[in-house]
């Protein structure tokens, strides 16, 4: 491995590019802080050597439930209780007696828990790993992947409730569900990209952790999770603002095919168009911030 860290004082106009080229020629890895694509380079390296974050994600989950009788089933149990209680209660409140409501709320809640958990933890991720960073483990990409990986394991358990709800309630399981093969990766890409932006911004501005907590709690209620946008009743009032809500699109591209057997082309298009923007922003802030992360935390 060959590392070159090169920087010049602001008044020195010239950057000695000759030396950089020479090092690149000797077959080593060249790391220059000005590369805008460093996020993708780091990400590729982490995907090639996934040991740390994969094992870390597993062990974090394992440790969380190790000493408990129900163990990992707690993730299923707490989701199940929420869906049953809120589902029964709100179907009365919203005068929506349709059984499909349980599938609606289960899918929405499970996806929301993943989005909220990932985004919320991103804002504090480098603070939490401060000691490892200060002591030399500077693959920042890995910390986010480990955290999102942990949330994915969580999602894999809780999604059992959503699948159960889809199977029990009279929801059609049709060929439309194959669209999920497209929309699930889109969903993951969008969330992961947002996590990288938030992780950097959260490290620079500690207030972001509180801000995002406030905002995400708000969005839980204005995103159609416990209410249905199609209901002509009280949901319609907020429904008008729904298309300005980014989380609506994320939830809908999975819930549409799964619960309503529709292909939400418009929503899929919006998410697909947003992903390059999300990742461009993430790459720019990550490249800009990478040398400073150890100083901020």
């Amino acid at each position: 491995m060959e590392t070159v860290v090169e920087s010049t004082a602001p008044r020195d106009a010239q950057r000695s590019g000759a030396a950089l080229k020479k090092d690149a020629g000797s077959g080593g890895t060249l790391r220059d802080r000005s590369s805008k694509l460093v996020l993708f380079q780091d990400l590729l390296a982490s995907l090639r050597a996934p040991g740390f974050w994969l094992y870390g994600a597993w062990i974090d989950t394992s440790l969380r439930f190790r000493s408990q009788a129900l163990g990992a089933f707690w993730m299923v149990a707490s989701t199940l209780v929420f869906v049953l209680m809120i589902g029964t209660l709100y179907s009365r409140v919203l005068r929506n007696s349709s059984e499909i409501y349980y599938a609606h709320i289960a899918t929405g809640f499970v996806l929301w828990a993943f989005i909220q958990g990932s985004l919320q933890e991103s804002t504090r991720i480098y603070f939490r790993n401060r000691s490892m960073i200060q002591n030399g483990y500077v693959k920042y990409v890995d910390y986010v992947l480990r955290m999102v990986g942990g949330n994915l394991i969580n999602l894999a358990y809780t999604v059992l409730v959503a699948i159960g709800a889809v199977l029990i309630t009279p929801v059609l399981v049709t060929s439309v569900d194959f669209v999920l093969l497209l929309t699930v990766p889109l969903f993951m890409l969008a969330v992961l990209g947002m996590c990288y932006s938030l992780s950097v911004v959260g490290a620079r501005y500690p207030d972001i952790a509180q801000t995002s907590q406030t905002i995400l709690r708000l969005f839980f209620f204005i995103t159609p999770i416990i209410w249905m946008p199609t209901s002509s009743g009280r949901g319609a009032a907020i429904g008008a603002f729904m298309y300005a809500n980014p989380f609506y699109y994320l939830v809908e591209i999975i819930r549409g095919p799964l619960v309503y057997s529709t292909i939400p082309w418009f929503e899929i298009g919006i998410v697909a168009a947003a992903i390059p923007v999300i990742w461009l922003v993430a790459a720019l802030v990550y490249a800009r911030a990478k040398p400073y992360v150890p100083l901020w935390i």
Binding site: M1, T3, V5, A9, A19
Partner: protein, 267 residues
Amino acid sequence: MASDQSFIRAENVHFRIPLMTRVGQSLRANPIAAITGIGKKRNLRHLIRGMSFEFTGGDRVGLIGQNGAGKTTLLRLLASVLFPSAGRLEISGMTQSLLNVSMGMQTDATGLENIYLRGYSAGLSSQEITKRIPEILDFAQLESVIHDPISTYSSGMQLRLAFAVATSVKAEILLLDEWISAGDRFFVERSKRRLLDHIDSSEILVFASHNPEMLQELCSRGLVLKQGTVVFDGDIKEALDFYESDDYQAIHIPPQGAAKTMTKVAQ
């Protein structure tokens, strides 16, 4: 110089950090400064002021200096945790930083799980870790408790495990911080051989310490630091003598830059 040899080359490396505390930044504590401070030139703390040196294969370098002289900052720069604010730092070779030997250990996880966790963070594959486990257990003498959470271990046992795992990965450039003198006498004696073997297998050692005996034993070259500058670079014995002498205390480094004139280099 052979192209496959490891080296560290620093040319006039500076490192500054903006001097700001969370309290000073707080909008609540100081609402006026938060507004008037916008666009103002930030106060910079100069931690490394124009260091130049070159380490090549076979160098065993001891970093000597009082607290705040820049030893740890320099190690973090070499470990690529920090990036220089100005100057040129070139590092060639697989670098292992043992700045804190217990880095990344999960106290609730078992000894075996921690071996894997540490191994992966050192960049090993699962096969490579599995291959090393017998040898790690042999040194750490923890076979009987390897499936227990390490929170149940004594601090000596935890240190033994961390040390055994850390030293099972070979590197070309080895960065060591002070931690090595921790632990009981028995551990220090037993681990010394292993540490020496580990150091022998590396090409470059950079070791920061306050312990003169340890420095003399492990290093051949000494870099004496004061307030972020190299004030002496030479034989370890002479470096330690210089550090002990009044000359070291007498060196005055002006607050801003201009450290070059004060740098005394003895090769």
